[in-house]
Assembly symmetry: C2
Homo-oligomer: 267 residues x 2
C-alpha cells in the first residue's frame, strides 16, 4: 500500500506547493518511487514546477530523479455510482493509478476549501501542514486571545482536519500523523517567533499534531521554480560553490525528511 502524504493548509501561501516539491523530490532522490497529484486545479503550481523540471531536463539532456505526476483523469457522468461525487471518483482513480507503482503518493492541496481537498485529507497517512510564523496564519488553526494568546477554540482549518479524522476513524483506517511544519521563518531571534512557538506547542497537545522544524525564509526555496529544480539538484547541474544559506537550507530539508518519520525513509 502506498503511503499517502497530503500537504494541506487552507491558508493561502503557507508553502504547500513549495514543501510538496521539496519533499517529493527528496524522496525521489532517495530512490523511493513517488507519485504526485496536484489538487490546485486552477493555479497548478506544483504541476508547473514539475513541467518546468521536465522541460529543463529535456533541454539540457539531464537525467534527474523526477516524481511521477498524475492528472485527475476525466470521468463520464454515466460511470458514476448513484449519488457519487465526480471529484471523489476522479481522485480515487488517480490514487489507484499510482498505487501499484509507488511507495509514496504526495497530494498538494489548494489554499481554499474544496471538495477535493476535504476528501484528500481523509486519505492522509501523513498530513503535512506548512505554516508561516504569523498569527494571521495561526488564526486558521485556532482563535486566540489578542493579548494572552490563550487558545479560545478551533478555527476553520482545524475543524476541517477534525472531520477528515472522523471519516477516517469511521472507515477503520489508521489515524493521521499530522505534522505542522513552520515555513518562511525569520532568520533572527524575535519576540513574535517565541510567542508562535509557545502557542504552537500548546495547540499541538490540544489538536493532536506534532511540530517539525521547517524552512527559514530563503530565496533558494523559490528562485529555482522556473527551472523546476530544488537545491538538492544543484550538484547534478554542475554547481560547485554553495553559500552558507544553501548549506543551511540543505540541512533544513534533511532535518524535515528525518522528522517526518516516513516508513522506510532514512537520511
Amino acid at each position: 500500500m502506498a503511503h499517502i502524504i497530503v500537504v494541506g493548509n487552507e491558508k493561502g501561501g503557507a508553502g504547500k506547493s513549495t514543501v510538496s516539491m521539496h519533499v517529493a523530490t527528496a524522496l525521489a532522490r532517495l530512490k523511493h518511487r513517488v507519485g504526485v497529484i496536484d489538487l490546485d486545479l486552477r493555479q497548478k503550481t506544483l504541476t508547473r514546477y514539475l513541467e518546468n523540471r521536465l522541460l529543463y531536463m529535456q533541454k539540457h539532456a539531464l537525467d534527474l530523479p523526477v516524481p511521477e505526476f498524475r492528472d485527475l483523469p476525466d470521468v463520464e457522468k454515466r460511470e458514476l455510482a448513484a449519488g457519487e461525487n465526480i471529484y471523489d471518483r476522479r481522485l480515487s482513480m488517480a490514487v489507484s493509478g499510482l498505487e501499484p507503482i509507488c511507495d509514496f503518493i504526495l497530494i498538494d492541496c489548494p489554499g481554499s476549501h474544496t471538495r477535493l481537498s476535504q476528501v484528500a485529507h481523509s486519505l492522509a497517512d501523513t498530513l503535512i501542514t506548512p505554516l508561516n510564523d504569523s498569527f494571521l496564519d495561526f488564526d486558521l488553526l485556532a482563535q486566540t486571545d489578542g493579548e494572552t494568546h490563550e487558545i479560545l477554540g478551533p478555527s476553520v482549518y482545524s475543524e476541517m482536519v477534525w472531520s477528515a479524522r472522523q471519516l477516517r476513524a469511521q472507515a477503520g483506517l489508521t489515524p493521521i500523523d499530522w505534522v505542522v511544519v513552520r515555513n518562511r521563518v525569520g532568520p533572527q531571534r524575535m519576540v513574535n517567533k517565541e510567542l508562535m512557538i509557545a502557542s504552537l506547542n500548546k495547540l499541538a497537545r490540544r489538536l493532536g499534531f506534532r511540530i517539525a522544524p521547517g524552512f527559514t525564509e530563503r530565496v533558494t526555496f523559490r528562485e529555482l521554480f522556473p527551472r523546476g529544480l530544488t537545491l538538492l539538484d544543484l550538484r547534478d547541474i554542475g554547481v560547485k560553490q554553495f553559500n552558507i544559506s544553501m548549506v543551511a537550507a540543505r540541512q533544513e530539508l534533511r532535518d524535515l525528511m528525518t522528522e517526518l518519520k516516513l516508513p522506510g525513509v532514512s537520511i
Copy 2:
C-alpha cells in the same frame, strides 16, 4: 461617489489582507472616511484584524481611527430579480450601504477564484495586487520561459482582471487603475530580485498595470495582528522607541500611500 479600492490576487498569501489593513488604517488616520468589505467569507482575516482592533480599543479605552466595517447583508431569495445572483446583490447592498458615508471603500478579496471576487474586480477604481517577489507568484500573472524569462502569455489571474476590465468598459465606467505592489521583498540585493523587477516591468507594459514600491519582509507587518494594530498606531499606544526596521516600515507605507495616487490623499 466613493472611490473603490479592491485588493486582489488569486495567489494565496500574497499579502492582500495585510495590505488591506495597512492601507485602510492609513486612510482612516489621514481623516478620510473609509469603509471596508471582507470577501474572504471563510478565513475572514481582515474581519478578525478589525475585530481585534475594536476589542483592544475597548479594553484599553483607546480612541484609534478605525475603518467602518460592513458585513455582506443577508438577502432573501425572493428579493432577487429574475436570474440575479445572490452574491452580486449582497455585494452591491454592502457597497451602497457604505457609499453615502465614505470617501473610500476598500474590498479585500480571497486567495481563490470566487464569484464575489470577480464582481468586486469589476467595481474597482483602483485595483491593488500585492505580489511576493517570487516566480511562483508571477506564474499566476503570466507564463514565462524557464530560462529567458520571456513572457509567453497571460495566466489565470491576469485573465480574470481582463474580464473585469471588459465588464467595466461595457458598462461605460472609467478604466481600472491597476497597481501591482511588491510584498515580502527580501532585504538584500539578490539575482532573483533583479530578475523579478525586469520581468514585472516588461509585463506592466503588456498587461497595463503600474508597479508601486511595497513592503519588505518585516515582522512588524504581522506581529500586530492579535491586537488589531498597525505600526502607524504605535505612538498612540505609548511606544516611544522605534527601531530602524519600524522607521523603514513607516516610510514604505508612506511611499505606497503616495504612489497609489488616490484622489484627495496627500501624505
